[in-house]
């Protein structure tokens, strides 16, 4: 877990600065040093710069925990796109966070095959055990955010959940407390 991500989750998510709109806290570019080298290497895979947009946004999220509007501007400049275009792409895809989320972002599959195996009970258990209470809300300690997602593509291992980049199969309400102890 990067220091930046922890910082982002501790900030007041409603403040101007943490939403990345106004430069009260100076914006530090993502693509410097090794990150810039990594992006340059990626560019070699494609015949134009725009094709590196999704990978570049993934790099931003890996470093900062979310994709701020200022990061969109930075990516736009590097790939010779407009910030509006980049925002249009970011908002199309569900996995780019457009605001800070809890330190551990939990996605629970509740599409039909998992629902048939009790995914709704897994959601209930996660919401109560994390203290999030509601879907999409972050727990008071800033640790967790829980959301429902559409099919995670592991239907035979119902119910799959994702905690940040970690994929966990065959979750039941009974297993939830044990699983959560791993994420401090």
């Amino acid at each position: 877990m990067s220091a930046q991500r922890e910082g982002a989750s501790q900030a007041d998510p409603l403040s101007h600065a943490s939403r990345g709109n106004v430069g009260e806290i100076p914006y530090e570019p993502v693509f410097v040093g090794a990150m810039r080298d990594e992006l340059n290497a990626l560019l070699g895979r494609y015949p134009n710069k725009m094709a590196a947009l999704l990978p570049a946004l993934w790099m931003v999220q890996r470093e900062r925990g979310w994709v701020s509007e200022e990061a969109m501007v930075e990516v736009a400049q590097l790939l010779e796109l407009t910030p509006a275009y980049v925002k249009g792409v970011v908002t199309f895809y569900t996995m780019y966070h457009q605001h800070p989320v809890g330190r551990y972002f939990i996605q629970v599959c509740t599409t039909s095959p998992c629902l048939a195996c009790g995914a709704d009970k897994v959601v209930e258990s996660l919401l109560s055990q994390t203290g999030c209470g509601d879907l999409g809300a972050t727990s008071p300690d800033g640790r967790f955010t829980v959301i429902e997602v559409e099919c995670l593509g592991a239907c035979g291992f119902a119910t799959p959940i994702m905690v940040n980049e970690e994929f966990i199969e065959s979750v039941t309400p009974e297993k939830v407390p044990q699983i959560l102890t791993r994420f401090k």
């Binding site: 895979r45 015949p47 134009n48 725009m50 094709a51 590196a52 947009l53 999704l54 990978p55 946004l57 993934w58 790939l79 796109l81 249009g88 792409v89 199309f92 895809y93 569900t94 996995m95 780019y96 996605q107 509740t110 599409t111 039909s112 095959p113 629902l115 048939a116 195996c117 997602v149 559409e150 099919c151 995670l152 593509g153 592991a154 239907c155 035979g156 291992f157 119902a158 994702m162 980049e165 970690e166 994929f167």
Partner: protein
């Protein structure tokens, strides 16, 4: 092999033979299991000869449409002076389907080998494997395997010393079911919103970056090395029913069933035997009620229909549905079909890219009505409205996501109308009340 279970004696484990064996993931382990012999052989053949072998084998696309693979490859004209591309569709997102995930998790080099052969056969120097963003483990495994293949000279400017360039890159999606649609996938790869494109032009004429492109499913490409190693006749002979459906096929099984997992059978295998024997039948004390055999976009079957079905492209069509992606979703008698159809409608409403009015409005409207019926507040008039919306959503949009939303609703109303009616006459969900009591 029915991963996570042991192989069933009636399976035909070809693609799944090494599922569950971590050693098969490494290049060395894969070579010990006969890996990269087919690529070596292919690089000594002409592209046209490879296309002919694949044509002769009868291999058809395993992603859902079942288009003959050799014919698709033959649309790519070599020597046209343009760059060609191969896209590998690893955006497996169809509810009920999780076979490509297992291929990538356990046998990443099988996919790389098939991809390299496919790229060479269509005159492409570059192939992109587009993996859905949620598949973090398959993504890492594929990236490691690609690195290994480059380091060993199997890929790159001089693939296996052939003097031919074959580059393979892994590209991560970011959460959008629609990117499994081939033209949406290409838009997404180009760094755009994943909106499907109007066809024509077809990808073979103007695909990725506006250049001739072939797009194949993971399972399709993973089968290609086996066809080259064993011959087209060997593959073609694997067929228990229709001669138009050949080879082995991975079926993912999920829902209310004793042993969910991936099972590989010869085309034409009896569905009844598959469900009750191979997959272990229903859970104790339960009965099967309905099956969606090819991922959530194909019509729901009653058990009567399912039990007389033979598992191939023609066999599923003969029993009112489709083979699709091979994602078998099983529901038992504890499940409310109205609830599941409402949930599937919500899935399509969430995943609609919103380009076409019929889909954007139709998926949302269908979901509202279905959820209202499920909550016990529906009317009999709703049935007519659902069918009328469904009619307006079918065959009228750029891609088939819209049609796919109408499919469970229309087939559900045909086959489980009594459950819909019970929600309206009883003004509540009969299943939910029974569970609460």
């Amino acid at each position: 092999m029915g991963y996570p279970h042991k192989s069933h004696p009636k399976e035909t484990p070809i693609l799944s033979k090494y599922f569950g064996e971590p050693q098969a993931r490494t290049l060395e382990g894969w070579k010990q299991r006969g890996g990269y012999r087919a690529l070596q052989q292919a690089l000594g053949m002409t592209p046209a000869d490879i296309v002919n072998v694949v044509k002769e084998s009868g291999l058809r696309g395993r992603g859902g449409a079942g288009f003959p693979t050799g014919m698709k490859w033959s649309f790519m004209k070599p020597g046209d002076g343009k760059a060609h591309y191969l896209c590998v569709n690893a955006d497996e997102s169809e509810p009920g389907t999780f076979k490509d995930r297992e291929i990538m998790r356990w046998t990443p080099h099988a996919l790389i080998e098939g991809t390299a052969i496919g790229a060479y056969a269509i005159g492409a120097e570059t192939a992109y494997i587009y993996i859905r963003g949620e598949f973090t483990e398959p993504l890492r495994i594929m990236e490691d395997a690609v690195k290994e293949a480059y380091a060993a000279g199997l890929l790159g400017a001089n693939a296996m010393g052939s003097g031919k360039r074959i580059d393979v890159h892994v590209h991560r999606g970011a959460g959008a079911y629609i990117c499994g649609e081939e033209t949406a996938l290409m838009n997404s790869l180009e760094g755009r919103r994943g909106n499907p494109r109007i066809k024509p032009p077809f990808p073979a004429v103007a695909g990725l970056f506006g250049l001739p492109t072939t797009i194949n499913n993971v399972e399709t490409l993973a089968a290609v090395p086996h066809i080259l190693n064993n011959g087209a006749a060997w593959y073609k002979a694997m067929s228990l029913s229709s001669p138009k459906s050949t080879g082995s096929k991975l079926f993912s099984v999920c829902g209310n069933v004793t042993r969910p997992g991936n099972y590989e059978v010869t085309m034409g295998y009896p569905f009844k035997d598959f469900l009750y024997d191979m997959c272990g039948g229903p859970l104790p004390g339960r009965k099967f009620k309905a099956v969606i055999p090819g991922g959530s976009s194909v019509p729901i079957q009653s058990m009567e229909e399912a039990e007389s079905t033979l598992m191939d492209y023609e066999g599923f069509v003969a029993k009112g549905t489709m083979l699709g992606s091979g994602g078998v979703i099983v529901f038992d008698d504890s499940q409310c079909m109205v609830r599941h159809i409402a949930r599937l409608a919500r899935f399509y409403a969430h995943e609609s890219c919103a380009q076409c009015t019929q889909c954007r409005e139709g998926t949302a409207w269908t979901t509202k009505i279905m959820e209202r019926i499920e909550a016990g507040q529906g009317t009999f008039q709703d049935f007519e409205t659902l069918l009328e919306i469904g009619d307006n959503m079918t065959g009228k949009t750029i891609c088939v996501l819209s049609d796919s939303c109408a499919v469970p609703v229309v087939s559900g109303l045909q086959k489980f109308r009594h459950e819909f009616e019970a929600h309206i006459t009883g003004k509540r969900c009969p299943f939910r009340t029974a569970a609460a009591a």
